[in-house]
């Protein structure tokens, strides 16, 4: 058959281009595109085949656009779903905008809840992250020592024996490094001024094991020698006004002697979430500076209050449990026989750095401890507030849904099925949730400084992408969780049900009622807890402690050289006693200063001297107080037996001992007057009197046995262990003027005359006593705020519901008004919705509150009596608040002109 001119030779375009095009191009356009491309190809092929091919390829690439791409089934689905959500979003947006009031109520209530939740989350975040930022933190452990005594009592300490670190490093190869950490109050002199400040003493590898930054100086060797001092940035500013101070001099008083230290480096301030809150650091390179030869030699005995904590760095993948045997054999070899009285009576254990802060089972010498209990309480409060806010939204939405029955009906008639509607309404609640969380974040940021003050701690708000994502995720969660139920309810409206105007199944009604009850219960709980906590605090602050402390001021004195005999601290004490006497003489010239007394420890301090000794295998511990003869009278402490100190009596001065009732019981003395303390090694002394028990420690504890004397040496001879606290004498006096602060300039003047180079400070004893109850006050502040928030949220909910109810029953209200109903009737009508819920809430919350309160009060040896009053008060309060809220709405409702209502 002859081939005509019309028959063109079919040539193939580049195969790769074809395949590529078929690969990416969507089915519904490939025909026209490929067709055109082929036409062009064939056209230009005649002129130049190669150019034709190139142009073809180029064109294939040119057509590679989003709009031409193939959509696989699933990606098509995502695309169509996406546009669906956008549509839903727009619908939701319009709906919310139309109902501004309702939307605002919803948004604000969730925002408040979220803000509270967020702030509390910050606290929990911080508290659980202590010292996790060090690169080696997983391998760092703090050591503790537990000695089991012959009487079965064991003593657990984190002050550790001096040789422990070195011994562990030498004997156990898995211990790579150890660091020592200690904090002590020290007199710091710069130029002519001396103040008492906190100083840390650490081993010189402190900065290489832990990740604290050195900003100035040699990061590898921050301590040049044993007389170097490293300052944190804020302390450099405190002393020198700037941080460029390498080479400057500070004089510190250690063990009664002044030494000069040269600033060799500046460290960055420790972050708030670290238990090592260092200020100024010295190194242990020069050990003998801090400890006497005796202490260094007999380091395994007597662990003093001035011993450091020891931390070890273990090798990779080494667990402390694996080292138990090695440690036991080390103990047997190294620890002297008379310290480890029996086998296995001397135990050394480890605590991982990351878990120290929240571990309440071990005491802490210097590392800052937090409390898990407190975190649990905070967390519960935060969660509760958020849940209450969300429940608010749920109940409001359900109620609002009544207004939308027409909308649902029409949607269904036009063809929406239930799933579509669910998606629609869910989108609505997600939009609200996103708005609310945004607002909540703004609230949280605004309230952050106030919150930090309330909880007495510093927080960090990290504006990281990670956190932003977490918040958005939470917002979605909240939106879905709160929106699910209302969405289902709304979408379940059947068209016939709408026509019949019967909307809710009885289940929904019960659920709605239940939610309101829950809100009221939590509000009531908060109110009663707050009331009771305040009561307890009031009790703690005003209870009779057994001594009079009003208008009492205490002034701490400094050592002015050592005096007398006995152990070091006693000599320091006697030296300072001289200064006390000088000050007393100077001040007694002024008529308004009276009731002078001198004591080694003062009311309101947290460390009291604790001594212990053994007799017949039994261990006795007691508290110890050194006084002048006027102390007991100055504070109006009553004697129950024998006599008080006579200032003229030398016998009283050298040998007189006074016990409190608790001590008499403790030592089992029937007729204590004229007798001595049990124990064989005491010096000459005689018990001359017994005082009525007074609360020298905080009311958290019951009254401990107390031994009071003027001459400490007699007693000190007979004891084995001692923990002395802040022992330098304080001069106390009562200021009889009307304005307490007037005494300050007089005090300053006299002080300057006597001790010009020492910084003067004084404490008002009344205020010092309050410092015992910081955590209670903090808890009180927190619960007060939580109460306020929950009442606000519950009120918002009630407002919303009442509004809706009024809306729904407009006509009924109008008719009643026309028939002559008074405001009160309208109020009754509206309030009826909540009557039952309030009563129920009251009944439920009482046992719960009672349980929590008992739990909390068990922390105190002495507590206030909780009558029924707080509970009744809380019930009344919340009823009152809700009543007011409903009342306002009912007045508004009653004011509406009935004619207008009925005309509709």
């Amino acid at each position: 058959m002859e081939k005509g001119n019309n028959k063109k030779k079919l040539v193939d375009p580049p195969r790769f281009g074809l395949r590529l095009l078929r690969f990416y191009c969507r089915e519904d356009r490939i025909d026209e595109i490929l067709g055109d491309l082929l036409e062009l190809f064939e056209r230009s092929f005649e002129q130049s085949p190669s150019i034709a091919r190139v142009v073809f390829m180029l064109n294939v690439f040119r057509f590679m656009k989003w709009s031409n791409l193939k959509m696989s089934k699933s990606s098509m689905k995502i695309f169509s779903n996406f546009s669906l959500y956008v549509k839903n979003f727009n619908i939701a947006r319009r709906v919310l905008w139309r109902n501004k009031i309702n939307t605002t109520l919803n948004v604000i209530s969730i925002a408040i809840g979220f803000a509270g939740f967020l702030l509390i989350g910050l606290v929990i975040d911080k508290e659980t992250s202590y010292d996790k930022f060090h690169s080696k933190s997983a391998r760092i452990y703090r050591t503790w020592v537990k000695e089991v005594k012959t009487d079965g009592k064991s003593e657990l300490k984190t002050e550790t024996p001096l040789p422990l670190g070195t011994t562990l490093k030498n004997y156990i190869p898995e211990v790579e490094e150890f660091i020592l950490y200690q904090q002590r109050p020290t007199l710091v002199t710069k130029g002519a001024k001396t103040i008492k400040d906190e100083v840390n003493v650490v081993s010189s590898n402190f900065f290489s094991v832990l990740d604290f930054k050195i900003v100035k100086g040699n990061a590898q060797k921050p301590f040049a020698n044993g007389y170097s001092i490293v300052l944190s940035e804020s302390y450099a500013i405190k002393y020198f006004g700037g941080s460029d101070v390498i080479g400057e001099l500070l004089t510190l008083e250690i063990k009664g002697e002044n030494h000069d230290f040269v600033v060799s480096a500046i460290a960055k301030d420790p972050p708030h979430n670290s238990g090592f809150q260092y200020s100024m650091l010295l190194s242990y390179d020069n050990e003998s500076l801090f400890y006497s030869k005796k202490m260094l030699k007999y380091g395994w005995y007597n662990i003093y209050f001035s011993n450091p904590e020891t931390y070890v760095l273990l090798g990779k993948n080494v667990t402390p449990e694996a080292l138990t045997d090695k440690i036991q054999s080390m103990v047997r070899t190294v620890v002297p026989k008379d310290v480890q009285t029996e086998l296995d009576s001397y135990n050394i254990g480890f605590q991982n750095l990351e878990s120290i802060h929240l571990d309440g089972s071990l005491p802490s010498a210097y590392y800052v401890l937090g409390s898990t209990k407190y975190l649990y309480i905070l967390g519960t409060i935060g969660l509760l507030i958020l849940v209450v806010a969300c429940l608010n939204y749920v109940s409001l939405s359900i109620a609002q849904s009544l207004k939308r029955y027409k909308e649902v009906g029409i949607r269904k008639v036009v063809g929406a099925n239930q799933r579509d509607l669910v998606r629609l309404y869910l989108t609505e609640s997600i939009v609200i949730s996103l708005l609310s969380t945004l607002l909540g974040v703004v609230f949280a940021i605004m309230c952050l400084p106030m919150f930090e003050q309330i909880i007495d701690s510093n927080l960090v708000f990290d504006a990281t992408i990670g956190n932003a994502l977490r918040i958005i995720g939470l917002a979605f969660l909240i939106g879905i969780a709160s929106g699910v139920y209302p969405a289902f309810i709304l979408s379940k409206f059947s068209v016939s049900g709408i026509l019949r105007q019967s909307f809710f199944s009885s289940d929904t009604r019960w659920f709605q009622k239940g939610m309101i009850v829950f809100q009221f219960v939590s509000a009531t709980l908060f109110i009663s807890s707050t009331v009771i906590i305040r009561k307890q605090i009031n009790f703690l602050q005003t209870a009779d402690l057994g001594y009079k402390y009003d208008a009492m001021i205490s002034v701490p004195l400094f050592t002015n050289g050592e005096e007398g005999s006995g152990p070091g601290f006693v000599r320091e004490f006697n030296g300072a006693l001289k200064s006390a006497m000088l000050l007393k003489t100077a001040l007694s010239k002024h008529t308004r200063f009276d009731d002078f007394a001198i004591g080694s420890h003062i009311f309101g301090s947290h460390d009291w001297a604790e001594l212990s000794f053994k007799k017949n295998g039994k261990q006795y511990s007691f508290n110890f107080l050194i006084v002048d003869p006027f102390f007991l009278d100055a504070f109006n402490i009553t004697m129950t037996r024998g006599e008080g100190f006579d200032s003229d009596s030398d016998f009283h001065k050298n040998q007189g001992v006074i016990l409190n009732e608790a001590a008499v019981d403790y030592f089992g003395l029937n007729d204590p007057i004229g007798k001595k303390l049990p124990g064989t090694d005491f010096g000459e002394h005689r018990i001359i009197g017994v005082v009525k028990d007074f609360n020298f420690k905080s009311l958290h504890e019951s009254i401990a046995p107390l031994v009071i004397t003027q001459n400490p040496n007699a007693i000190l001879n007979g004891i084995e262990e001692i923990s002395i606290g802040d022992y330098l004498p304080k001069l106390t006096f009562r200021y009889k003027g009307s304005v307490l602060s007037d005494m300050s300039p007089i005090l300053q003047e006299e002080w300057q005359k006597l001790f010009p180079s020492f910084d003067m400070s004084f404490d008002i004893i009344e205020q010092q006593l309050l410092s015992h109850y910081h955590s209670e006050q903090r808890m009180s502040r927190i619960t007060s705020i939580a109460t306020l928030l929950s009442i606000v949220i519950a009120s918002l909910g009630v407002i919303g519901l009442t509004l809706l109810f009024v809306n729904q029953r407009e006509r009924e209200i109008g008719i009643r008004r026309v028939l002559g109903a008074s405001y009160r009737v309208v109020f009754g009508l509206l309030f009826q919705n909540f009557r039952l819920q309030l009563a129920l809430a009251f009944i439920i919350s009482i046992p719960m509150a009672w349980y929590f309160v008992q739990n909390w009060l068990s922390n105190y040896a002495q507590k206030v009596n909780v009558g029924p009053l707080p509970y009744i008060l809380s019930g009344l309060l919340i009823t009152g608040v809700i009543g007011v809220v409903v009342g306002i709405q009912s007045i508004r409702a009653s004011r509406i002109n009935p004619v207008k209502l009925l005309r509709d």
């Binding site: 063109k8 025909d31 026209e32 067709g35 055109d36 491309l37 082929l38 036409e39 062009l40 656009k65």
Partner: protein, 113 residues
């Protein structure tokens, strides 16, 4: 509504479709514009604008007429719709108005056609 104004290219393409009816499809429109206006368009640009004009409602299209030359692939044939015609008319009015004014004011302006 946004995007109501016709760009120059879009106007050209609408005119080309008008001229080529009922055979207005990708390659033909591209060739026509090359011939009449001297503008070289890529085939993908042409397709894009044609599609956009259809989305805006100035054109309609339907598939039709596959020949052996295109490997049997059908073409998408475009047609001007009422809205599109109106748009073109409007533009023509506006242009004429301006040209007339210009002529009235400036005799030196020499216009073709």
């Amino acid at each position: 509504m946004k995007g109501n104004h016709l760009g120059e290219l879009e106007e050209l393409i609408l005119l080309a479709v008008l001229a080529l009816e009922p055979n207005a499809y990708g390659v033909a429109v591209m060739d026509e514009i090359k011939m009449e206006a001297g503008r070289s368009l890529t085939i993908s640009a042409t397709h894009t604008v044609l599609r956009r004009m259809e989305d805006k409602g100035y054109l309609t299209s339907e598939m039709g007429g596959g020949t052996k030359t295109r490997g049997g692939r059908k073409k998408r044939l475009y047609k001007l719709v009422a809205l599109g015609q109106k748009k073109i008319e409007e533009l023509r009015e506006i242009r004429l108005k301006f040209y007339n004014r210009a002529e009235a004011l400036n005799h030196s302006l020499i216009g073709k056609g």
